[in-house]
């Protein structure tokens, strides 16, 4: 093919060479490695940060999203839900994502509404106070906060309600 350059069909201004580079260098990394094609792995120096090439490596968007989701579990949009307390004049809004777990959340609720929550146990719910934190889940049921693992809770919680008095004590049984 070398001798056929003159008859190659191409469109270009006279005098310009339209033929692409033989290798497709990837920004500065290739210059670092030189033109002898030695692999990056053989270099002593760490490869510089590269701009991502569109569509490379060839991973489906579906899979990429899952990788991103794992990485951004801490970042990403918040989960904002309404919180109400029996007797309070208005509701509040909180972002569930900013809390690391139940203790963190409950502490924040105690601060927000100026009350104390009892101690949680699987058997008896929140023992030792007049209050019980409850939430409405995807199915529309009102559940006691703390039974489910945290990650599951924040995805299924639609709103929070701090129940008070006899209603709350009732929740502690069975």
């Amino acid at each position: 093919m070398e001798g056929c350059v003159a008859t190659e069909l191409r469109l270009g201004l006279p005098g310009t060479d339209n033929v692409r580079n033989k290798k497709r260098p990837l920004q500065e990394a290739d210059e670092e490695c030189g033109a002898n094609g030695k692999s990056h792995a053989q270099d002593e120096t760490a490869p510089p940060a590269k701009a991502q090439i569109v569509g490379w490596p060839p991973i489906r968007s579906y899979r990429k999203k899952n990788i991103q989701a794992k990485k951004n579990d801490c970042e990403g949009p918040g989960i904002y839900i309404k919180v109400g307390m029996d007797g309070a004049p208005y509701l509040r809004k909180i972002d569930l994502k900013v809390y690391s777990g139940y203790p963190d959340l409950l502490q924040a609720l105690e601060n927000m509404f100026k009350f104390t929550i009892g101690k949680y146990s699987e058997r008896e719910g929140y023992k030792g106070s007049d209050y019980a934190p409850t939430y409405e889940d995807k199915d529309g049921d009102w559940m006691l906060v703390g039974d489910d693992p945290w990650e599951m809770f924040i995805t299924s919680c639609k709103r929070l309600r701090i129940m008070k008095g006899s209603e709350a004590r009732g929740l502690g049984c069975g």
Partner: protein
């Protein structure tokens, strides 16, 4: 056969004979024997596969095959999976559904891949096909849970609803609840792609409990772990199960409930899902492991020791999808434990990081190629490779039919010798005589294409990226690969000459994709004029391709054979010769 005998067979007899012929290829051959066989065959063809929805029009299909019951359509080119095809390019299914709604009232199966499916299309399906049974939407988009609700409400005999890897918008409707209480037909349900808001667990439980024929259930990640046990107890007859989210800490009651539920599932052969799985819960599935033939752990971020433990419990494994966390040591364990392995896919856990985060190299793949005699299909992402390893793999496994290697960094050379991988891939095509699919990567010259053209006679699909030196590379492939149907190329210095020299070849293939190569718009127009049964689409979002003299190569090129002529739904960024002519003629 004497002529007399052939004419004496009544049509019904021939039709009965033809009913045993299922494959499209054989059916096509049968219809070419003579006019009467063509006629009989076309009336009794029940199943149609259209590999490119633009290769033929729905009216043409209906005209020739008036009594179809099952259709499979594919839309966008494969590289659409990697965001190389702009939104709005095409692949709309509505025109097909509209035509078939009138012509095929008894259509009961629709399988779509990479198509744009709207709620309107789904509603039309629900309304038009009284006995609708199977809907598979693979990597589709454009619809919401509203469309699913319409299907659930109307399709009394729906057996299969598979939304694998599709993008579904959440319209907040509880679509699962739209299956009436009288509906009991579900056999296969795959909703693994749905987001957290889109599945009501109680509706799902009720559905599962009233469908005794349910064999395959793939749940989405938002279904809680303790509910998994409930589902399994309601459906112990499951053969395939896609699990949902695993929880953060081990709770012994949840664990034993789950383990008990799994142990009831004597028919279970395939497991997938495993998002966010915590290793402590894995032993809950040990009771089913010995019977498992397929395991998809490619979303599970569990490390090598736990993976090795799991894999060593699965001696019957035929198919494994996993992340590179398995490492070489895990693959060595796989090679010694799983002698029935046929398919292996290893995905990168952190593809965009320059440094490897798992000790996975070419050694793992070599070990599997040596230890697993039935290995046929490989998809392997790694960061280093050697020609020696590739040659060993080729010699160990001449029975490979699909070999896709992705060395993550473009232009990476053999880490031992610094050479390109021409010899290594050359060995693959030379030894693996039944190879039908190949994906190349790493540093490659025109030589590898010479080997491919010379040896890969059964190759049907080839994917190439960042490879080759000149048009000769493309020419070798187009002139040598007799069975080639699909060729997709990106970032290679292939241009006009190879394309125009091999124009006739393109009509023997389904499609050719070339992006970021060296093809000029002139050549595209020439090709289009020369080959009227090829649609030559230039995809370029920068503007009219011939308005930029300083940058004369087209951005993306998609060429496919078609008997339907140019399509009518092209977006403004798709350019063909006809539009250009119109532009040139106007002042």
């Amino acid at each position: 056969m004497p002529k007399r005998l052939a004419y004496s067979l009544p049509d019904e007899v021939l039709e009965h004979v033809f009913s045993f012929i299922q494959s499209d290829k054989d059916r096509n051959v049968v219809s070419a024997v003579c006019k009467s066989w063509y006629e009989i065959e076309r009336w009794c063809r029940r199943k149609i596969f259209v590999g490119n929805c633009y290769a033929v029009s729905p009216k043409m299909v209906i005209r020739r095959f008036p009594q179809v019951r099952s259709i499979e359509l594919k839309g966008k080119p494969h590289f659409a999976d990697f965001n190389l095809v702009p939104d709005g390019w095409g692949g709309y299914v509505l025109p097909w559904i509209t035509e078939m709604a009138g012509a095929y009232p008894w259509l009961d199966e629709i399988r779509l891949k990479r198509m744009v499916v709207t709620d309107e299309s789904l509603e039309l399906i629900a309304k038009s096909f009284k006995d609708f049974k199977v809907l598979v939407l693979a990597s589709c988009e454009g619809f919401s849970t509203d469309g699913l609700a319409a299907l659930a409400a109307s399709c009394k005999n729906l057996r299969e609803l598979d939304l694998r890897e599709s993008e579904v918008d959440d319209s907040s409707v509880h679509w699962l609840s739209h299956f009436p209480e009288t509906y009991t037909s579900m056999v296969s349900l795959n909703i693994s792609c749905l987001g957290s808001g889109e599945v009501s667990f109680s509706a799902l439980e009720r559905l599962v409990s009233r469908c005794p024929n349910l064999r395959s259930l793939k749940l989405n990640r938002a279904v809680p772990l303790d509910k998994t046990a409930n589902i399994l107890r309601l459906a112990p007859q499951l053969v395939e199960f896609g699990t949902c989210t695993y929880s953060a800490e081990l709770r012994s009651d949840v664990f034993s409930n789950l383990a008990g539920a799994f142990s009831n599932c004597k028919e279970l052969r395939s497991l997938s899902g495993f998002w966010d799985v915590v290793p402590d819960y894995l032993p809950a599935i040990y009771s089913v492991c010995s019977r498992l033939t397929s395991l998809n752990l490619s979303y599970a971020t569990i490390q090598s020791p736990d993976l090795i433990m799991l894999v060593s419990h699965c001696p019957s494994l035929q198919r494994l999808l996993v992340l590179d966390y398995i490492e070489d040591s895990g693959l060595e364990a796989l090679a010694s434990n799983c002698k029935d392995l046929q398919e292996l896919r290893v995905f990168p856990s952190d593809p965009f990081d320059a440094e490897p985060n798992a000790s996975l190299t070419e050694q793992g793949l070599v070990a599997v190629s040596l230890g697993c005699p039935k290995l046929q299909s490989v998809l392997y992402f790694c960061r280093r490779m050697s020609n020696a390893a590739l040659v060993t793999i080729a010699q160990n496994r001449p029975n490979l039919t699909r070999f896709r290697l992705c060395i993550i960094e473009p232009n990476t050379a053999d880490y031992l010798t610094g050479e390109p991988f021409d010899v290594g891939f050359g060995a693959i095509v030379e030894h693996c005589k039944d190879l039908i699919r190949l994906s190349l990567s790493g540093l490659l010259t025109d030589c590898v294409f010479e080997y491919i053209g010379k040896y890969a006679k059964k190759l049907e699909m080839l994917s190439v990226a960042f490879a080759g030196d000149s048009d000769l590379g493309l020419h070798h492939v187009l002139s040598g690969c007799e069975s080639l149907r699909k060729l997709e190329i990106r970032d290679c210095p292939f241009g006009d000459k190879a394309l125009l020299t091999n124009a006739a070849k393109l009509e023997t293939m389904r499609s050719l994709w070339m992006s970021s190569c060296s093809v000029s718009f002139e050549a595209c127009k020439l090709l289009s004029q020369k080959m009227p049964r090829l649609n030559v689409e230039v995809i370029d979002e920068r503007g009219p391709p011939d308005s930029r003299p300083e940058n004369c190569t087209v951005d993306k090129l998609y060429i496919y054979r078609s008997v339907a002529g140019p399509r009518f739904d092209m977006p403004p960024f798709v350019w063909t010769k006809d539009e250009d002519l119109a532009l040139r003629l106007s002042p």
